[in-house]
Symmetry: C2
Subunit: 201 residues, 2 copies
């Protein structure tokens, strides 16, 4: 048991169901032009950039952290705007934690989404999220948010501050094994024929 | 980077703003009779046991965990019923994590409460929580939920599965340094004259 005193002073965070945290440490934004290689249909993505502009907001993240001790947590909101690129619903880049065993909570605050989850050895799951639904993403699962609704998909997340993100793993594999595509008024999983399997790090 | 495959399969959790998780791993309950020594006014607590019974529910916790790898998280809800013992508002036992540097998120889902926070070296903070307010409790902070409202005080929590709880630290110190007492229609902090200071573990 460590008794090292901390100089972190607890602060109030005000979390909006529409996304965003008063009291955040930072905000970052991802724009359409940042999403090269993320969607399978590259031509559809390029056409969408021509139509909407490279500087159109796709998703944004607020998060809060203190000084990072070994047991620190990062708390944030992810707000993924609705839309499609070809048949594929709007997605975040997705990641495996750099320290792969680190879990992450996602708790849906608003909207309608899917958490797409895969392991490097080929397991795949999809968890549908609407307000009040959550998933405790276990360690060793690559994960990506997908907005399958018409409104912003907002999740509260929480994960260990030392976890880090490996964003290249998905790109190096030709995308995730599954993609989430339109199916009438709903969504379905489809196999991504470009997926080459994940490298074992 | 570890690539140990996991056998944890992600599951959907359904989190009620009234407390409770469908998909939980366990539920535990604390009754009035379990709260000996928790409130400063022992006579008022004994009188409340005589009036309401030792088996009256005070708070209950649902939580979810997978197999516990080193990076695993426990996600849960805490539901603390309203009430007072003498002037003191209803509280949970409170704890420092056994691995003291482990942080914990509390996100208020309903009700009106206070997170009371203290360090072993004498710092004290109180964060008022209403729906949408949250606190990322830093490592090394003893913390306890207090219900200062008229409805159940429900928080979503998330913390490292290896953190553990030291519940004895507060009892060994004669209670927390501060208590939360009625002040007209509101609440205020009051110094607990029985507090003897925390042991340094």
């Amino acid at each position: 048991m460590s008794t090292t005193p901390t100089h972190d002073i607890p602060v109030t965070l005000t979390i909006s169901p529409d996304g965003g945290i008063e009291g955040r440490s930072r905000r970052y934004e991802k724009f359409r032009g940042d999403m090269a290689g993320v969607y399978r249909d590259e031509a559809a993505w390029k056409a969408s950039v021509d139509e909407h502009g490279a500087d159109e907001l796709i998703y944004w993240v607020d998060d809060h952290r203190y000084q990072e001790g070994p047991g620190a947590l990062i708390v944030g909101t992810s707000t993924l705007l609705p839309g499609r690129v070809g048949d594929e619903f709007a997605v975040t880049r997705g990641h495996l934690h750099a320290i792969a065993d680190r879990a992450e909570l996602y708790h849906c605050l608003s909207g309608h989404g899917v958490m797409l989850l895969e392991t490097v050895d080929g397991h795949s799951e999809a968890i549908e999220l609407t307000p009040g639904k959550a998933v405790n993403v276990p360690g060793h699962w690559i994960h990506r948010s997908v907005n399958v609704g018409d409104e912003p998909f907002v999740t509260l997340f929480c994960y260990a501050a030392d976890a880090g993100q490996d964003y290249e793993l998905i790109a190096d594999a030709g995308g995730m094994k599954n993609i989430v595509v339109a199916d009438g008024d709903g969504w379905k999983l489809a196999a991504n024929p470009d997926h080459t399997g994940y490298r074992k790090a």
